[in-house]
Symmetry: C2
């Protein structure tokens, strides 16, 4: 997207540079494909800035999005070996969070989601990452496993320069209010309408 001219200049006491570099809460929602892929594409830009990338996947199955995970883990190793780009951490709820000794079970998804969020909140307080990707985080919010008001408060008061990208359908209205940039991925046409199912390299 090319640079544009803002519609209004707000009276917020910030300089143009301060306002320009204000860290963002980005929300990718809507029914269609592209929410997660666009989040990971955005994270590539952050990686190239040398920022620490933290990915947290709130998905049940570890089967999905292996392509992005493999590519980002490769970029993380490259950073360790050559210093190029930024460090990468990739955490998945589905197989038990990697920082936790508890294995993920079918019974405690709500507890696992809350544990994941609390760890993210600690990292935000510590200014651990430059970019957080909270993949499919809208679902634990929708299902009441994680309190929306708590999330909004942590996001609104987060210190330093930390971008947070959240993906998933059915984003709660309070999260939409708290986000700086909200994109809705809308369906125009999908191969499943023509009887085609998901395939490797496209869906994962």
């Amino acid at each position: 997207m090319p640079q544009g001219v803002p519609a209004v200049t707000p009276e917020d006491g910030l300089t143009t540079r301060q306002r320009r570099n204000r860290p963002l809460v980005v929300l990718h929602t809507g029914e269609m494909k592209g929410k997660s892929t666009a989040a990971f594409g955005l994270a590539l830009r952050g990686w190239n800035q040398g920022w620490s990338i933290g990915v947290f996947q709130f998905v049940k199955s570890a089967k999905w999005k292996v392509g992005e995970e493999a590519a980002f883990r490769a970029l993380g190793r490259l950073h360790e070996q050559t210093g190029e780009g930024g460090p990468v951490e990739w955490h998945k709820m589905g197989e038990g969070w990697s920082w936790s000794r508890k294995a993920g079970t079918a019974e405690d998804h709500a507890a696992a989601a809350l544990e994941g969020w609390r760890e993210i909140a600690r990292r935000i307080a510590d200014e651990r990452h430059g970019v957080y990707v909270l993949d499919e985080f809208t679902y634990p919010l929708k299902w009441g496993w994680v309190d929306v008001a708590e999330v909004v408060d942590v996001l609104r008061t987060r210190p330093g320069h930390q971008h947070v990208v959240i993906t998933g359908r059915h984003a709660p209205p309070d999260l939409v209010d708290a986000a700086d940039l909200v994109v809705e991925m809308t369906k125009v046409k999908h191969p499943m309408d023509a009887g085609q199912k998901g395939q490797k390299g496209i869906e994962w």
Copy 2:
């Protein structure tokens, strides 16, 4: 996006496996951010499949999307060194196509766009890549620099297993018809509305 059940099973003479793995034309359009980032996120999945990735940027300025370019060039070098993932080629119209001896000039954008498309058509005939990203390719189509009917014909008759992802606003209706998967990125909220301009790590 999780696997789903197709709404209809078409009578096209294909087996489920053939239909499932039919290569796609994917179109990311609409007014909002996320079109290119989602295309590059999708290309990460193809890279992880070991497919050859060919990126062709139909943009005037080489300043944009440097983050994705640096990350994909790093992944391409990693493939050369370790065999992990697939090879990556990245070509830009803005500084003159890398296969061409002609330097890009302000006067011949139409000729440069057509030259880029003709090279892509040759590569498609040769089955050179597994994934083609034609970034911002809708603009030369909209401006009449490249013939939409020719593009649709090349896409419809392409041999082998080649996915093509096209991004940009104002996609011509015939291209929408030819695409298998069309996502429209729709604005819900944008920081420019609140007076914020583009920033590194987010826009590039």
